[in-house]
Amino acid sequence: MLEVQTYPTVGEAASAMDDRARFLGGGTLIMNRVNYGDRRFTRIVRTTDASLSEIRAQGDRLEVGAGVKMAEILASRDLDFLSPAARAVGGPAIRNMASVGGNLMAPHPYGDLAVALLALDADVRMVSGEEMSLEDFLARRNGVVRSLLVRRPQGDEFRFRKVSRVKPKGISVMSMAAHLTRSAGRLSGVRIAYGAMARTPVRVRAVENALEGVSLDLAGISAALSVATEGLDPPDDPIASGWYRREVAPVHLRRLLLGEDAR
């Protein structure tokens, strides 16, 4: 049988965590598991700590509390660059509940916001104070996250695209994000991330490398398109087969990079 423990501060909540406990953020992940009788945990740990819901500037970065909801991102002018990704998550009811921290933990094929944050080279700040890259965090996915730190991209250099079969809302066939930084008119230091193409959101280094030093046009990106799924083994799930994901990834990557309309 279950037990719910509520703590006034996130620090106390974090120290109450162990293998048999789950941290409840917005509820969209944990309550789903509770409803389906998941016996891997017997305790739900939560906090009423308001600091988790803050969005504030810190140096040249924005610090986004792990408890900030998708709807709050959409309402924040500072975070407007994340709105395409935040809007891609669920319908309005889910967006009122789903939190930034939860999105990092969401199982395949969920976690569209994390894809955007990964392409933006966000860092994760744990409750312990430890900081790490989001990429490192996604590789192990444990501990309680206090906040995300992300730099605002310049101009139109950030792109996000979610591919789903149902509009306007649908689960990801894949999601893609690109941070297209340039140097002397050529792409340089580009970051590309995919969602629903692996167990967690991933960076796609083959594509990043193939985009180094090229111009952002069809000829320039053709090499990148040909390695669109290199090193990836996309999973089969009820939304799409791995085969299908591999087949259509180059098309969507082209649309993402060139800013083409999907419809």
Binding site: L2, L24, G27, T28, M31, I44, G91, P92, A93, P168
Partner: protein, 157 residues
């Protein structure tokens, strides 16, 4: 272990004892006897259990019941004003916007949240507002039409 929770349900102060880990949907249906929100998936995927918490739509199957303590919860059960249907209810009735009726309470709450914030929404705004609510019978067209019609009726009144 049960714990007491007090909140406002459709404007009335309500106190219930909830099991640890109970979701709001179960508590509304079993604890409070408000059967208007429906179970469809228990995963937040269908929207049949949509209720408004402090005016904002939530899927009640994924809300830990004790988190609504002190807050306001609105359901379709409290939508009509006495015997008079809410403009949304009237529009759904007249526009054939329900067939089996199982998604209807969730659709109505999602629509109410929209109209409360945006009294004259565009068609895409309506579609976005109900994008988390599945319907399997009628199709979405009459539902979207009914919501737009309700907005018109309200504007005219």
């Amino acid at each position: 272990m049960k714990s007491p929770v007090t909140f406002w349900l459709n404007g009335s102060e309500t106190a219930v004892f909830v099991d640890a880990g109970a979701n709001l949907l179960d508590v509304l249906r079993r604890g409070c006897g408000d059967l208007s929100p429906k179970y469809g998936c228990g995963q937040g995927g269908c929207g049949a259990c949509t209720v408004l918490i402090d005016g904002e739509p939530h899927v009640s199957c994924l809300v830990l019941a004790e988190t609504v303590a002190g807050r306001s919860v609105e359901t379709t059960g409290g939508l009509s004003n006495g015997p008079d249907p809410h403009p949304l209810q009237r529009a759904f009735m007249e526009g054939f916007a329900a067939q089996c009726g199982y998604c209807t309470p969730g659709m109505l709450m999602a629509a109410k949240a929209l109209l409360d914030r945006n009294p004259s929404p565009s068609r895409p705004e309506v579609e976005e507002a109900i994008s988390g609510n599945l319907c399997r019978c009628t199709g979405y067209e009459p539902i979207v039409d009914a919501i737009l019609e309700a907005a018109r009726q309200r504007g005219a009144a």
